[in-house]
């Protein structure tokens, strides 16, 4: 109340307030810079160790005298690491494609269609968000092993496709598209499939891209499910392989080189789409 009452007075005293805001907050800037550098430093030392010449004692004892790609080249010529990478790429990309397709279809129906049981269904989808994945880990594992899916790609991928967040994000976005668009297309005699492919998909491209990036990162970084699904070394994803290298005591340089290589796609996605990712989290709280 007091605030609104004094507001007219603000304009008179505004200039000093503004200039105070404009003056450079040195201590805050330094603090922020320090925290940022500390946050990034683990990546930095990881890359330094990964690029140290093999056999040379390195951090924290001393900085490597020169950098070398030897460890990374060796790693890329070992079938294990390459196989894990291929598995991870398949796991992430196939999941992205199917989730984008099924979630946009469901989102369209929930947003713009009427059919029996729609609201119950939507409520039931949303309710599953409250159940942590780990609480259903055991029955999920039993189900997949009964269906013969342990140690297979479909067993790894298919159970992760039922994604409530994806459906709801699509629904919210499609709901805000004008109804007239769909009515007009229908009057013109377009089939539902045509409306989906030629109106829904093109108009939801921005949200599909955002969702695609997040699903990619979720799957690329996923651990517990691939861990229980990959019984053989051949089915391991990068996270599972990396964890096994750690527990089996691989040399530090090899471990750091694997870690560095496995994070490169994430860093690339991040570098290209930083602003985009940041804005979408700020707007939607997507996780």
């Amino acid at each position: 109340m007091t605030l609104t009452a004094t507001r007219p007075a603000t304009s008179a005293v505004k200039p000093p307030a503004k200039s105070r805001r404009r003056s450079f907050p040195w201590p805050l800037w330094m603090l922020l810079a320090l925290v940022s550098v500390i946050t990034v430093s683990p990546f930095f030392v990881m890359f330094v160790v990964a690029l140290s010449p093999p056999g040379e004692p390195t951090l924290p004892a001393r900085w490597p005298g020169s950098l070398s790609l030897d460890t990374i080249v060796n790693l890329l010529s070992s079938s294990g690491f390459v196989g894990w990478t291929v598995n991870t790429v398949i796991y992430a990309l196939v999941s992205v494609v199917i989730i984008l397709l099924t979630a946009s279809m469901a989102g369209y129906a929930f947003a713009k269609k009427r059919f029996p049981g729609r609201d119950t269904m939507m409520w039931a989808f949303l309710a599953t968000l409250m159940v942590p994945f780990q609480a259903t880990l055991i029955p999920m594992f039993v189900l997949i092993s009964e269906l013969g899916g342990v140690d297979t790609f479909w067993g790894l991928i298919v159970p992760t496709l039922a994604n409530s967040q994806a459906v709801f994000l699509m629904r919210q976005f499609i709901r805000d598209l004008p109804d007239e668009l769909f009515e007009a297309a229908k009057v013109d005699g377009a089939s539902e499939w045509r409306i989906y492919w030629q109106i829904v998909i093109p108009l939801t491209k921005p949200i599909l891209a955002t969702l695609g990036v997040f699903v990619f990162l979720w799957h690329w970084n996923d651990f517990l499910w691939p861990l229980v699904m990959a019984q053989s070394d051949e089915m391991r994803t990068l996270t599972v392989g990396l964890a096994s290298m750690r527990t089996e005591g691989s040399p530090l340089a090899v471990l750091m080189a694997s870690a560095a290589l496995s994070v490169l796609p994430c860093l690339l996605v991040f570098a290209l789409l930083q602003r985009y990712l940041v804005n979408s989290i700020a707007m939607t709280g997507l996780k």
């Binding site: 922020l32 942590p132 964890a243 471990l255 750091m256 991040f270």
Partner: protein, 288 residues
């Protein structure tokens, strides 16, 4: 409206793929978890209905109460730490203009990586011949066994998760801060309010919804911490980081007690539910 009513089955057809996925891979396992917790299912596939024996056994097991206590201690360390750091960095980002984009990117960077990667890097940072002890050594300070001391292991693990994940909460809080009209803060300045009073009386109340959201999701996330523990400590030392979820994995996949592991899953679910409902109530009341 009439157009949309014409073909009610089309809508169903579009939901069908996702519905099938949800029915088989969400609803069946959720119901299955409850059912399985009432059996003595093992990895051999044999099972008998044993009623609530698993629950009785769990509540009788001092190791269960230990792991529950460890989980709660971990949550109690992790949540305030991550929310404070997220809030602090969000406030800094909001106050600083020069190079803001770069700093925001640097702080958010670990979020796009995996907990396994965080665990692998930080395990080495914490080791006796790792980064921190290397630096301590140069200062002639004794080595610290971050992952070897029972008192240090939970804070050490919490720091890793904070590093990996605070950027997400930071962005949510930053968006909340940006939505506060600057005219409020300017008016308060004119009225003679200092920085602390402005924060306490204007920023904090208006930020409450964002803070509430962040506290809830970070708490739920903390209950589910697994990857870093698996990679860094294996539940040790002396079971000091043996959380509920780690016990669930161990019982299910190392000892193949699937029924018993499912019971731990149900307890975890109940816990997450109770905590989020309690937080909702508490924070709603605080708002009034």
């Amino acid at each position: 409206m009439r157009q949309r009513m014409r073909d009610p089955m089309m809508g169903l057809l579009f939901v069908l793929p996702m519905l099938v996925l949800f029915l088989i891979f969400r609803f069946v396992p959720i119901l299955g978890a409850g059912g399985m917790s009432l059996t003595d299912l093992n990895l051999g596939g044999e099972w008998n209905f044993i009623g609530v024996d698993n629950y009785a056994r769990l509540f009788d097991d001092p190791k269960f109460w230990d792991s529950l206590r460890i989980t709660l201690v971990y949550v109690a360390i992790y949540v305030p730490l991550t929310v404070l750091i997220a809030l602090g960095t969000a406030l800094l980002l909001n106050a600083v203009v020069f190079m803001r984009g770069l700093f925001r990117g640097m702080l958010f960077l670990p979020y796009v990586t995996s907990f396994v990667l965080a665990g692998v890097i930080w395990r080495w940072i914490y080791e006796f011949d790792g980064m921190i002890n290397g630096l301590l050594d140069k200062l002639d300070l004794g080595p610290v066994g971050f992952l070897e001391e029972t008192a240090l292991v939970l804070p050490a693990l919490a720091v890793v998760s904070v590093w990996k994940g605070f950027g997400y909460s930071m962005l949510i809080l930053l968006a909340g801060l940006k939505s506060i009209p600057t005219s409020y803060l300017e008016a308060a300045t004119v009225d003679g309010a200092g920085p602390w009073q402005r924060f306490r009386r204007i920023t904090l109340p208006l930020l409450r919804p964002a803070l509430f959201f962040v506290v809830i999701i970070e708490t739920i996330g903390a209950f589910q911490t697994f990857d870093t523990i698996y990679v860094m400590t294996g539940g040790g030392p002396a079971r000091a980081s043996y959380t509920l979820i780690y016990g669930l994995y161990d019982q299910g996949f190392r000892f193949s007690n699937l029924g018993y592991a499912a019971t731990i899953g149900i307890v975890l679910f109940a816990l997450v539910l109770v905590v989020s409902l309690a937080q909702r109530r508490l924070l709603d009341r605080g708002n009034a």
